[in-house]
Amino acid sequence: MGFDPKYTGQAFKSVGTRPLRPDGFDKVTGRARYGADFNMPGQLVGRILRSPHAHARILSIDTTRAAALKGVKAVITAADLPDLTNGRADLFNILDNCMARTKALYDGHAVAAVAAIDDATAEAALALIRVNYEVLPHVTDADEAMKSTAPLLHATCFTKGVEPKPTTPSNIASRSQFGHGDVEAGFKEADIVLERTFKTEQAHQGYIEPHACVAKVNADGTAELWVCTQGHFVFRQHCAELLGLEVSKLRVTSSEIGGGFGGKTHVWAEPIALALSRQAGWPVKLVMSREEVFRASGPTSATSIDVKIGVKKDGTITAATAELRFTCGPYVGPWALLGAMTAFACYDLKNVRTVGYEVLVNRPKVAAYRAPSAPMAAFAVENVIDELAKQLGRDPLEFRIQNAATPGTKSSYGPVYGPIGIGPTLQAARAHAHMAAPLGKNQGRGVACGFWFNFGGQTCTDLNIAPDGTVSLTVGTVDVGGSRASLSLVAAEELGIPYERVNAIIGDTSSLGYNDMTDGSRGTFSSSMATISAARNAIKTLRERAAKMWDIPVEEVVWEDGQARAQGEKHNNLAPLSMAEIAAKAPKTGGPIAGHSELVADGAGVSFATHICDVEVDPETGGTKVVRYTVIQDAGKAVHPTYVEGQYQGGAAQGIGWALNEEYVYGADGRLQNAGYLDYRVPVCSDLPMIDTQILEIPNPNHPYGVRGVGETSIVPPLAAIGIAVSNAVGVRLNHIPMSPPRILAALDRQAAE
């Protein structure tokens, strides 16, 4: 649908204010219901048996002793999840990842599952299952996996995207390429050409709430699933397809969500819980432990990246290239492709080429992590930008401003930009007090930029007006960051009523039309478009009802400040009608009053950010403390500024953890060594400074209020900003994420030895 984009200078009454979120009270008092907080009568406990091997052929599985154990109600293997994917490779990969069929492809890959009357019985049953493995050689590193001598994960994998088609299989699942111009000619024009290689280790989204669900499959073919997810409609679709259920007969309800960040966009345990319930005839509750979350959900890629940039003495970048090698786990994904698309998106480049390789390794299947792949690409590119600026004797921020993309720039991934905010974020950084603050001993400052696309998607919203004139707003995008408050503000804005008179909820899959997931920074962007549309449809009905009550033509009724007003001289004496007055008469004027909207929210505006970071590095221990951090980002229009700021701070906090500590550590046996928060260290409050934020508002012309997505871009610059700050603090450049104390000490030792 199209909107008249009269957003510029729009005077808002509700949008832009900061009321409390409706779900806040339950959350701070412990009453909110998350994935594991729901129970069904007679439910069983589900547990999953996982491969201890990184790569192994499954020769046989004997479940007879487990099935015979008293209290065990169901035991399943891949044989109980027949292949119904009809040749769809993406769906088959999901199926094979949920339960290994012929080979276990990573440490933690599910191979069998049980449902029993209690925890102890379920655990005992797992111990009785006998799996006969043929252990195979494994590979977990991207560069190693690309070698022709590497252990092969799939004999059927021939690299896509290269001509001629390879005749031998490899672990390189596909190649992608973006860019324009003539990079070879561009490098010849350059006075300085700098080439560097970077590595980033695999990190997990680190959501506090593990995956959890309760599944119930009934004998009549209907089924229910209560689940912690970023997209219950997508989960319904995948589960129904994998289990052969009719989509409309599977009702999925999303719980409150204790973080997702992309990791709850995939089904992992849910099809298993449904299959167990189908066999047992009883509901099954399946809650993953923290160890299972690390070993067998979807972290981000580990990467290896080469960047080469040429520049003239006047600071003009003449050419830039990058080769990005991203691990996918055992199944292909678009991860290097996204890195290749985003790597140079902040800059105006005449000659640019990026090449991405999707590399299969014996690690868990990679899932999206907040602006997936962009942070690693930005880490590599921004480090080279910073080093080049220093070689030129230029201030790195000024060097970026000189080369930044502007409206009309041909982006490095292809299209020409419309209105964009990279220039304004850089200008705001230059003017920010943080840039002028003095640094202490062993401290360094880093600045970095970041880009993310954002997108919209299918969205369906209902707005119902209650008999007392209050409003129920039902949306289908899971609330991951305060969107119920934001969408209530939008409904209040359109209807002209106070925020407190709108009650927003997340509808289940049987109460609304299909909604895409809350991903791609689309939750508030998409559902606000649908809410605006639904509210405008409701206002049309309210005007019609007021016209009936007054017995005047509807064309002579306008909607202003939450009231129907009669226009024209002949109606001067009619008092306005409130929503409550119109709603009270609804039974006699045509029945319930509601507004609905079903749309595809395309036209999400791209987003840019610039971050400033100060760190202090202890040269004795290599430990790094972030002492000051500032996020500057374009929001288009901040519907609820507090929650926009929260997204900015959250992205920065996750980036700080990723940059300094978080890392999947694999042993020589291919087993994950640190599957817990004691050994995989995410930042806690005492590790973080107050993260300052500055919201810029460069309106997105494709949204009626100018809104852009804000949830992801804030994690793009931190790896680079912190990396540059650490390099400035210790005087040696760090090219390997995370910059943990041992890596910093090793870099200092190397420097001392030179």
Binding site: D90, E163, A368, P372, G418, D519, G603
Partner: protein
């Protein structure tokens, strides 16, 4: 007749042409004619192709018109977190 720019992998499926000329009123007609001329592109369209029209990216609105003189760029349908 509009110039349609294709990203690398799609260009390979379109006979190695990074730019093709197709007369189409909207995205739906564009995809239909692209697949008719280059059958190997159908697999990409089925998997998901986004269309940038003068810098605005459309992933699903196949009824979106293609204005005369617009810059049209076909991109992979991206994932998000």
């Amino acid at each position: 007749m509009a110039e349609i720019q294709l990203w690398g992998a799609l260009a390979a499926a379109a006979g190695g042409h990074p730019v093709v000329e197709i007369a189409a009123r909207d995205i739906n007609e564009l995809f239909r004619k692209l697949a008719e001329r280059y059958p190997a592109t159908q697999a990409f369209i089925d998997q998901g192709v986004a269309v940038s029209i003068d810098g605005t990216i459309y992933r699903d609105t196949w009824s979106q018109p293609l204005p005369d003189g617009a810059e049209i760029f076909l991109l992979p349908r991206i994932a998000g977190g």
